[in-house]
Amino acid sequence: MSSVDGSVAVPEPVHGDQHRHLHDGEHHDGHQHEHEHDDDGRQHPHDHDHGGGQAHSHDGAHDGGQEHSHTPVTTITLEQSLLARNDLSAARNRGWLAGRAIQAFNVMSSPGAGKTTLLVRTIEELGERLSIAVIEGDQETSLDADRIRRAGRPAVQINTGAGCHLDADMLRRGLDALNPDPGSTLFIENVGNLVCPALFDLGETAKVVIISVTEGDDKPQKYPHMFMAADLVIINKSDLLPYVEFDVDECFRQARQLNPHVEMLAISATGGAGLDSWYDWLIKNTQTPASHAGAQPHPMTSASQV
């Protein structure tokens, strides 16, 4: 039977018997059905090649004119993580960054918590000591990357469109575009969202989660996955504490309950309070790898930073 790109095979010459059946898949020239079907219900793979790209079912005995299918079902055990592909890309990023002695910090918060403001101030005040570059993730616009560039440091903007988080492949593309200097400090400003970014390993050195005092001190309880993933929790806008009901100790207590190893700081990115602790943390974690609370192995030791 030949039906080169044909959609429907010509039925008459093929089946000598009275029955007809429809092949809705294309059979290319010389395509043979030569396997035997045991009747014991055992499953078997079909390893012949169908050029048409679509599946179809075979059966030896066709007694009607109707569609037919195999009753046996082959179960293929996979037992693989649904995040396996992202985790593989993240591992590649981690190796790429380690090979260049770049420390990367994945900065996450809800929108408006002050991520970009903190990064701009950090560039201004720590720019002499650290070579900082930034990858900005937002659904739309390059406003944040523009702010970083105005502060004098390289930045690329990743627009996720409908996406609510960065994944490891997006970071890969950001790294290709930014090409950060060896030995530099990279901030990855994730999409403003306390939910989705928590699940996606990017290959970063450490995860920094920022909440601001106007958001309420119950954020760790409400968004436990994010706080469980964090290496450092920063409470920002501490200058507004006199005006809002926000219990810093209670917030820290909740975060520590979820994540006993998490480090915590209260700062004001605009007023400057607490920033010394943030800079100390940053210097400590750029000189030696972060004391990563998560399960990710860190491939680089300080001794390899030559």
Partner: protein
């Protein structure tokens, strides 16, 4: 809506394995502490499976409960939510189950 990209990974992983064969069933294990909502995943699956050999496949999701062991009183218990707290009052608790996010098996017909 991280379920959309997780479901895309699911569809890609299945197709990598099954190629052109018609997939009739997909079995997942999504722990109750995993941060992924099975209903959202089902919704995304319908959208993303369309036009692929996974279209119409039966998506079965096992949802293992959260499990934890308390390092203070040594008891193992079911964890109803993500807050790791033992009934003895201790927060020195190790989560031992419920965070699974696994593609267990697929069925091809």
């Amino acid at each position: 809506m991280h379920e959309l990209s997780i479901t895309q990974s699911l569809v890609d992983a299945v197709l990598d394995c099954t190629g052109d064969r018609t997939v009739t069933g997909v079995n997942l294990r999504i722990g109750r502490l995993s941060g992924v909502l099975p209903d959202a995943l089902r919704f995304c699956f319908q959208l993303l499976a369309e036009g692929t050999p996974l279209a119409g496949a039966d998506l079965r999701i096992d949802e293992p409960a959260g499990r934890a062991t308390c390092h203070t009183c040594r008891q193992s218990f079911i964890l109803p939510d993500t807050i790791p707290l033992c009934t003895c009052g201790s927060a020195d608790v190790e989560i031992t189950g419920g965070r699974e996010l696994m593609l267990a098996s697929v069925e091809v017909g």
